[in-house]
Symmetry: D2
């Protein structure tokens, strides 16, 4: 978990230490660091790069920069600032993502048409809201203020991961495959054991979900009991080399391995490999990333696969995906005994668990309550975190979620198996 | 459970007794009764009625009659008949539904174009296969033969329910709203308590899933443990009258009640009421069914709603959908204490459980293994059974499943609520 | 024009003579013969065959039988029958095709869902309307009555051609390729010259369009002058053998031959040959037709090609499509000098003329005025007639029209070339 | 034709005189002026404005700037430059529009994803190619060089008009309706007569098409004869006020006025007014343009209507659209007698003529031959020119063309009527 993942962008280094320090000192400093990091992610990008939207699921970087600011303006300044006035009334609609409770919103697939306001204006919007937030510091003894500030920070960190996945997708659509960072700055991955080994877990009644101090999203609670039948979990993620074996064994041509909906989908889309892989007759397998188009690294953890591909690979390997309760329980054991590697920072791990409310879950009142609950259908939970996840944003109880076809996120795979029930 | 549900078609009466008798005597007689019942369902329909396909999800009645026969020919005769010869080689492709392991299949959305073979030929196909099955009776001491025969019978009963839902949908597409049965033959519904009452269940470690004697589908096992936090369940289904309240309270206009995907979907489809309801300025609310277009019956259990509508209604009512484990555990208790009504025969009950494999589930080898496992994604489990379910086909462990948008099945709703955790 | 075209169905023989006789005797007898011929076309079809709709552009045979009857009921009986009462009020909506002026209409793509009324009821509807029309014979001295009767007869003949093309398309969607007629009844095609020869026409001011006695549709007039630069026309249609050369020369792989929209369309649809051709590795090229799936006949006139394919073939052959004025002028000359063959009865001939009103064209008042004018956009004119056109329905001024992608009509191709302008 | 149309952007003033001068002096100076004007059009736009693509039919400004340069590089430098080397090999694919003969092309709907190369790089590309073209001046005595240079200039002028229509469309998609130019710089329209008057033309044999000196596109020839029946033409274009009458008279609600395909299309798209009109309950009718959202100017020539709307308006007005031959013949007469106004510079005028080749038309050999001919299907010819057409680019024989649904071009309407034929 402390290792530097292969794809972790250079720019996150300085923040890593800085943020760790800040966590010790105070929320305002941490807030400032997070706000600055979003701007830092955009720094190597042109205004043109920040404008484009490569598909309806992705958003322009400029939109991310504005929307995270809109969140602070709408949910904090509007309530806590004396004499509140919107920076620009139009921004209330333009940069609302999906909060029906807040009012109208600009249609998602058209975010790439907002050439105005300019990136410069959006950066000015950020600075303006930041200054006004700082002027509200006297509210820091109001728990509601602190809680919304924390929510805004976590929200912005989520968008930082989206900024990296969205810009990666956008650049991949350009036939000249531009590199965002010079390849010379790419870090070496830590060595990982070649052989896949398994950790066993006895049947037990476990407790999962967030409880106690520290931030969590509403969907992580309440903490509750779940019974697990005996299972085993792979101690590391599936690597590119292992997935290549699956491909070369005809994995994409064998319907018996696939969920029926997945099989139809890969036929329609003509999918034959992970999202950013390309086969070149002269160069062999390559993968596109923020450092450009490079030879495929066989040792690296597999990324950018759909739930359907994860499931088919697991079938091929005589295994299955873990449930999220199995994953979280194993992660709890790991904190004590340290048996697993690559739990965090390498790739989000698809679980077989559909995203649904924990027993006793109640969404918060008001627009903030639209954060999570209303997405609990036709999505699958991913656990862990990826090389694109900001430092400090990972948690054992964290529930990420995407539809079964999503591939532009840094999504990978850890295998599980059921163990025979004892009598 | 013994009450005669409102919509149970007249024609199922004679079979009811006959089948019950047959269960006592023997599998061959039960098999004959089931085979005859499919033909009996089609009896009041013309060859034209049996030809048409109203949407890709539905199939023509003729296709159901042929496909259930294909199942016996392919999975039994081909293995157990000496000197097997297909009734017609083309039928191997035409009436394969989705078994990739068996070979090619005719595209589902084009089943309504198969004007040939004629209904008469399909009925001859049924008689031919039935005779040949009877000639294999000497195999009855082979457990594999018996098990496949039983699977074919259960499979045919599933299609009998689909025949009724599909013909209902087809007739509803005709602007003259034809009635399949004369309204004079419609049965009166049993009285049901007006007030919705709740049954409480303590937190406990339960066991769910099929075990032991008697048929079950592979997806119903293995039996395994699940921990349930304390909850309560409504003792009966939601009625038309209650759903009408939701509509009149603006339920379809309030995004706060809906899952985000459901909200977008009802906007796109412009949905404002259950599938077969219609509002007429002179007649008020009406509902189409196999007895024609009739005034809406307020006391009857609500049917033909999607998962999204079930979920929105539950939110509006301050409740939620049960999980399938909660439902099955409550049904186990009911068998002892009898607290619930309308568990079976009135309407399938949406649960919040995504359709996924039980711990330790392994699909059968070969084409029969394609029966269930490969559909375990983006579908939600329904429990109980409906007025269209054949007598004797319901089970406490039965897992029906449909996508969240399905409305042409007889799908209703039983509410649940979490109870506060004790400390 | 007197030759018996290859595909002319057997059943039209008796009518041929009968109709010719009737033309001499009187309109009522001719009307009766036309009404009977529609029923005769449907005679070898089952009720199931008559129900299905293979695509939105096609209609069920039952619908054709009902709609042609609706035409007489709506446009004649409603005006001329004393004490008019509709046979069935629902039929007013169900069997209206596109006449907005008449009221609501049933959506075209759902015609295949009308299992009721049954074919028997539709045939009874025909008999009922026919009897009532006969009882109006005293109106035969009213020119409006006669003119509407004639329009209804021409309208029914158009639908007779559609019945044959629609049933051919439907049967072609069935993987068992049923033959409507026994191949033994198929006629031999008349011999046609192997070499393609050309007929020259000097530049001239010609007159085209209908004038004088005899029926014509409104779109065939007014007769008017057009100036033609010198051109030449192929004396016969393109044969299957010639089109096969185009295919084997890579015609479908060479974008330089295609209109841009056509090129994109054949890529999307993956088209590589005419609609009913199939290549079988053992049998070679075959073509499906009303006599079943048969070896491709190289001498026969090519059919079932789109405008895009006609245009690409012409480019490949160093020629072009004729304009409709060129075609009509050449047909006028042919009546005098007889230079051309296959003008009628073999295949409709795509012209390069977009379907548009002649100078001075005014649509008739009322719903009958919706017959033609409102379709004059994005369609191309076809001249001549096909093997499916009823005897007596062809005319030198006849303007058939379809979109550039239509292939289910019996559409073929006659080449033209511009000649250098003299000075 | 010399009047300053309302919407003519300020920036074109200086060029007007300059270009006129240049025409007298020489092709190189004219070429330079045209190249500079494209850059001048982009000058008030940000790099972000130049990046976005609002729909597949439109292109980003940056793409226009690059593609027009690619045209000179590909069709001139590659043939005439000694030691030719592409500025950037990737640009050969990225900025090819549709020339299959030249090689691969980047998919049109994804032009808005090319954030790289940057606008700065594209401007450098322009300067580089311009310098290299200037160094080829010794080829000016080669007729092929001159002819390709002229073609490139005309091509660039066409793209200048597209730049203005595309940026207008893009800005209109932004809910804040940004103005490209300050409204203070907008010119006053010249007064036009309020009453619509008509000019009569006798039946005659006319000649249309380009001939002789001066540039024309290949589709404008060969010059040939056409016979026109007697007709009349409105002496000016239809104004906004007149179209508003049509709207207020229920024009969009009356199917009898519309072509059938147009009627279905306006229902599906829910169209009720021209593209950039908006009705605001407080402000009344407004129109968006390059000067922002302004009150609708009733006297101004109507623009941004589809062929379907033009046709419906004409029906409503008891008239029709002119054919392109009628338009061109009337324009010839106007040059002598001056009866018409608004022939050029106000709005392209839909004709009822489908875009098709003139008799004797042959496309040029090679990739340049893909310029026009392959688009001759399902498009309608527009004549005249618009306020967005560059000065000096209009011609009496000019054939513009768009599909019947196109509305983002500055397309208007001049009425015609047939006159009774004399006997």
């Amino acid at each position: 978990m402390n290792g530097s993942p292969l794809f972790m962008p250079k720019l996150s280094d300085p923040q890593t230490e800085q943020e760790q320090t800040l966590q010790a000192t105070g929320i305002v400093e941490r807030w400032q660091a997070i706000r600055l990091r979003s701007v830092a992610i955009a720094a190597p990008l042109s205004a043109e790069d920040c404008m484009a939207q490569s598909m309806p699921d992705a958003s322009p970087i400029k939109w991310h920069l504005a929307h995270t600011t809109w969140f602070f303006e709408t949910f904090i300044l509007e309530q806590f600032e004396t004499g509140f006035q919107a920076f620009h009334t139009d921004f209330r609609v333009l940069f609302n993502s999906y909060y029906n409770g807040v009012g109208d919103k600009h249609p998602r697939p058209q975010r790439g048409l907002l050439t105005r306001p300019s990136l410069d204006t959006v950066l000015a919007y950020r600075r303006n809201v930041d200054e006004r937030i700082l002027q509200c510091q006297d509210q820091l003894n109001d728990a509601r203020f602190v809680s919304l500030l924390e929510l805004g920070m976590q929200h912005e960190q989520q968008h930082q991961e989206l900024m990296l996945t969205d810009i990666k997708h956008l650049l991949s659509c350009n036939p000249i495959f531009p590199a965002l960072y010079p390849v010379s700055e790419m870090r070496k991955p830590l060595p990982v054991s070649q052989n896949l080994s398994w950790q066993n877990y006895d049947a037990c009644l476990c407790e999962i979900g967030h409880q106690g101090q520290g931030f969590s999203f509403d969907n992580e609670g309440p903490r509750h009991r779940q019974f697990l039948e005996a299972f085993q979990l792979a101690t590391r993620l599936i690597s590119n080399a292992e997935y290549l074996e699956f491909i070369e064994d005809g994995g994409y041509q064998n319907p018996a391995l696939w969920l029926a909906e997945g099989w139809d989908w890969i036929q329609q889309q003509d999918l034959r490999h992970p999202l950013y892989w390309r086969y070149d007759f002269q160069q062999g397998w390559q993968e596109f990333g923020l450092y450009g188009l490079l030879p495929l690294n066989p040792q690296q953890a597999l990324g950018h696969i759909s739930y359907f591909e994860a499931s088919a690979f697991a079938s091929w390997a005589g295994a299955r995906l873990p449930t999220e309760a199995e994953w979280e329980y194993a992660a709890q054991q790991h904190e004590i005994e340290g048996q697993l590697s690559q739990l965090f920072d390498h790739g989000w791990q698809w679980t077989s668990s559909s995203y649904s409310p924990y027993p006793g879950f109640v969404a918060a009142a008001g627009a903030v309550g639209e954060y999570n609950g209303k997405f609990m259908v036709n999505q699958y939970v991913l656990r862990g975190s990826s090389a694109f996840t900001p430092t400090g944003h990972s948690r054992i109880t964290y529930r990420n979620f995407f539809p079964a076809t999503a591939r532009w996120q840094l999504t990978g795979l850890r295998l599980a198996r059921s163990l025979a029930q004892e009598d």
